[in-house]
Symmetry: D2
Subunit: 338 residues, 4 copies
């Protein structure tokens, strides 16, 4: 940690900072510059997190040198994590494509979707039973009945199921029926939900928050891991910017950035990430070209009749085209999509 | 609702959209323009929320005319809501200033703070017992023990207590001890928590999310109100932008904007909104000048020893200056701070 | 154009708006809804641009139906524009890769770079002679001497030259020496420079501004085209968001969005778009996968001795790897890179 | 400057960095930590600006300790700058209110505006003769004819004139007619224009760019000052964020931040900063409460007939109310508006 003191700082203010650091069993080094004095701290600065150094008179700025996460960090664990769930493998050489409707509507459409995507090569089935909707008057999902339909579709298709959980109280039920628990964008910093997901055994797919910096994203993964569940999958799904031509701004550079910082696998959701059907296939290609370990895609047999998110949902024909085009990109980057 | 059709749209695509609208008991009007055909919908377009009109071939764009919220809207309720809780009044001519530490640390500091701010004219005591921290290794609050200390401080000081709840399972406990339940920034779209808060009787202080548009903010208030609890207080606390000189960007223009759209009272939190002690007092003045109904401010007897957020916390002396300066602004805008 | 009137609007306010529209030779249609009255305008609404309709009492909101640009629009010109300059072709099936140093430093390094990239298959040479630097004390480019070195490098290597112009007064000189004039991010809305570039004959490469919406980007292209120069190349190079792990946020979704709206070719600059050498190759792959017509990349024989932007500049070895990897992606999307 | 080395950095990489620093006549200090090695640099790190330290293998991150600007910095000049121009004083105890139409339309309206605002207590007249418009088809201003009308209005009213310059070639003409040259948002990083403005004698009002960080804003001021013109006025006018309810997000916290960093005076433009007439007066009050040295406000005798920006322009009656309300805030913060 580097502590920059204000110009004109008093000797006793410098001493106060040095004392605090020593009390935490760390080693402060004072560097006297021409315009600023700087105190560099040797040792694990994460021990300083309870010390409000910036609140001490004379301190101008505190700059961290180390990352705030440990379990999620590649420095701690060099080999990449491969998450496995009911035949689904995320993080290896083969890409994982998880597809399905935004929301589970009924048995017929879910079965039709599962069969369709399975035949086209998808590796997992997604579908919402508990839906976080921005309007209290909008359809909130079939809940447990939806979970049961998902379990049924899994039995029939053999596809592992990824579904969202939005309430710590529902974690046991979702964990019983699903193969992977999804934590959505709006809940990325719902720490009680993260803890509950960390306490059960199924892998957790964590979506990046709309305004989450990369450290915050990894700290939310760390929350789950700190409970003992190391099977975490990260998912980029668009951030909020001034952009007006698309619902969100898909931040694909986060893929190489995450690959540098963490050993966890990284998926991309081009459906929510763009919010527009026309952009889904090009951005799916781009995500894989940038190094993503797979995709999460909204597919519905009849997007124009989907209850939710129809404007960003692919039909089965379009999904077939996605698989074809993404398959070529996979080959080009030395990966497979079989 | 205005539906803009693509150039070259087919007659049957236009018919399809018109049919859908009629099925929802709404009235479509087709306007043939030189470059675009447009369908205007007469009637309550909110009934269309389950219709994925944008997914229908031939549709270029759908523009809403009405606001998506009703209970929170000023169109439904002209007179301004005044929230009352244990002597605290928010939304009337008098401003409400709620102060206290970021987190409840122990009895002594809480008592000292409560006495101090009470003597300086504060109207409520804030303090966290359940803390949503971005690191799983950071102090997470004293929990129920913290709630008990808050209740004790209330008895002694007479100040009503505002405290955060982060888990639907904790709502009953927090509701028993607190006078106002706070829902924090990271949980603004934690809909299960909003519903739980809407089902109990105490007023709810809802903080704006870091990336929340004004409609989303009001829709989250609508979630609480849709459960029957109309005592909602909105709180601006800074949004996330590219700005690097402060932790967040305090968006004060949202105050007149909210006053136009909703009857709910609006507070401002200049501590989180700026993240830096030096900016708190000027922005507290600005918030009141812009029309805020009050302030939420972090105060600690010894900010440089605060466990959390010391860099943005005022000392009691600084809080005295805030009250003095804000009092003058209150007078200048025809309000009181007594 | 759709004009939404406020609730409680007066009949004479509606009449006032209708009159204004008729005066502009357009046809207003009044639609009386249950909660709002709406006036739809038939005809070319771009004629209304001098009418401050939103300033008329009773008007709540004005929503445009048509795009504000014409020459840049795909509605006006269906076939895609292919820009040609001294053997360089941008916008056809073959991709265009333009590489070179951020700034022209001297004859030796420029010659070395030009030879190096030419041998690796680059199609154009970039290099700054006039540099827009954020510090007045930083090196501002070799200016005309730099242009001459670029012209020399072109003669020797056969590579067409792309170089930035920052002042309308320099347009004739840059136009004489360069094959393509670049207008940089900070000057995207420097309208006098756009006009000057539109008045000369060489193609113009227009970089997107850090905070430019897609309409603004296209309107800046329209500025150039309105002067008679239709040879405009668009270039995405990262936008400014809250992201902290990279200098900018490369917005690749803008590629399919632009392809839908305009006939102009689209390049991507992954060097500025990420600001970090490690991210350049993955994002170059992603850009081509998303449909870009080519790349603009910073290359220097010795990035760690580059005067400017060394942290985001590739060495020739790294550029060789980029060409190899991008070539495979090109094949996967049905394009060529030879 | 603090240089953080990567984990696993080689001794020769550390030596390379140390050598580079010594060559620049600065003093490197190597601090060996448990997880990272850090090199702290003593001396004026601004000398390192041509050294691409981040491009050296083994370097993870470079953190600046000093600010990049000098002339604009409060560290160099403690006393606040007061700008004076033809009777206008900006930066003293008295606030400066500069009002007028977005664009000069004709003699009658300009004269009417100048008289009106003068009678209501304005201190300066603003009005555009050269207009940077986002559409090439929109009215671009009366140019020199507009300058002459402004000069005439100044003679008649006695009000000093502030007007925008958009092209370095126009600087002499604008400098002859105007009392203060305005450089607009879109040109904040048009460095050739900044240099030209820095070479003439009249004060320069510099508006913050839509996506400008505080350092970039001050570096643009530094550009002007580096040419010898120290009479620079900064103006906050809204930044671009995800906000949808207003055209821009007025960032008032930048006022106390700028007051800490620079001695230059700071104005606020609540007209562009909000883009909506209803928000102008509350945000004008808030700006002054936050510590602004004055306001730049759009006023027109008939906003609903204004050629440009009518939706954000005040009528003279509204401007009278602004002056009344801002006057009370001025008193509350110990300033005057006479």
């Amino acid at each position: 940690m580097i502590i920059v003191m204000k110009p004109g700082v008093l000797p006793k203010q410098i001493r106060e900072v040095m004392e605090r650091i020593k009390k935490m069993k760390l080693e402060p080094h004072l560097l006297r510059g021409t315009e600023r004095n700087v105190i560099a701290v040797i040792g694990d600065e994460r021990n300083l997190h309870r010390q409000p150094l910036e609140a001490i008179p004379g301190v101008e700025n505190v700059m961290a040198v180390l990352k705030p996460y440990k379990l999620a960090s590649r420095e701690g664990k060099k080999e990449r994590t491969v998450v496995r769930a009911h035949g689904l493998t995320i993080g290896g050489r083969a890409l994982a494509v998880i597809a399905g409707p935004c929301t589970v509507e009924n048995r017929t459409m879910l079965r039709q979707t599962a069969r369709g995507i399975k035949a086209l090569g998808a590796h997992g089935l997604r579908g919402g039973a508990f839906k976080p909707r921005s309007s209290p008057y909008a359809f909130q999902g079939l809940k447990v009945a939806g979970l049961k339909l998902l379990a049924e579709a899994r039995r029939e298709s053999g596809l592992p199921v990824v579904t969202e959980v939005v309430d710590p109280r529902d974690v046991p039920a979702v964990s019983r029926f699903a193969d992977v628990l999804q934590i959505g964008t709006r809940n990325m910093q719902n720490y009680e939900l993260l803890k509950a997901a960390g306490k059960q055994k199924k892998p957790v797919l964590l979506k990046r928050g709309l305004a989450a910096g990369i450290n915050e994203f990894l700290m939310s993964a760390e929350y789950i891991m700190a409970q003992g569940n190391y099977q975490v999958i990260l998912c980029e799904r668009g951030i909020r910017t001034f952009n007006d031509y698309a619902r969100n701004t898909l931040d694909l550079t986060v893929i190489p950035a995450l690959k540098e910082l963490t050993h966890l696998p990284v998926l991309v959701d081009p459906s929510h990430g763009t919010g527009k059907r026309e952009y889904v296939i090009p951005m799916a290609r781009a995500a894989v070209a940038a190094g993503a370990d797979g995709l999460l895609v909204e597919v519905h047999p009849h997007p124009d009749r989907a209850w939710v998110d129809g404007h960003q949902t692919l039909s089965l024909d379009e999904f077939a085209r996605l698989m074809d085009e993404v398959g070529k990109i996979a080959t080009a980057v030395g990966r497979t999509l079989n």
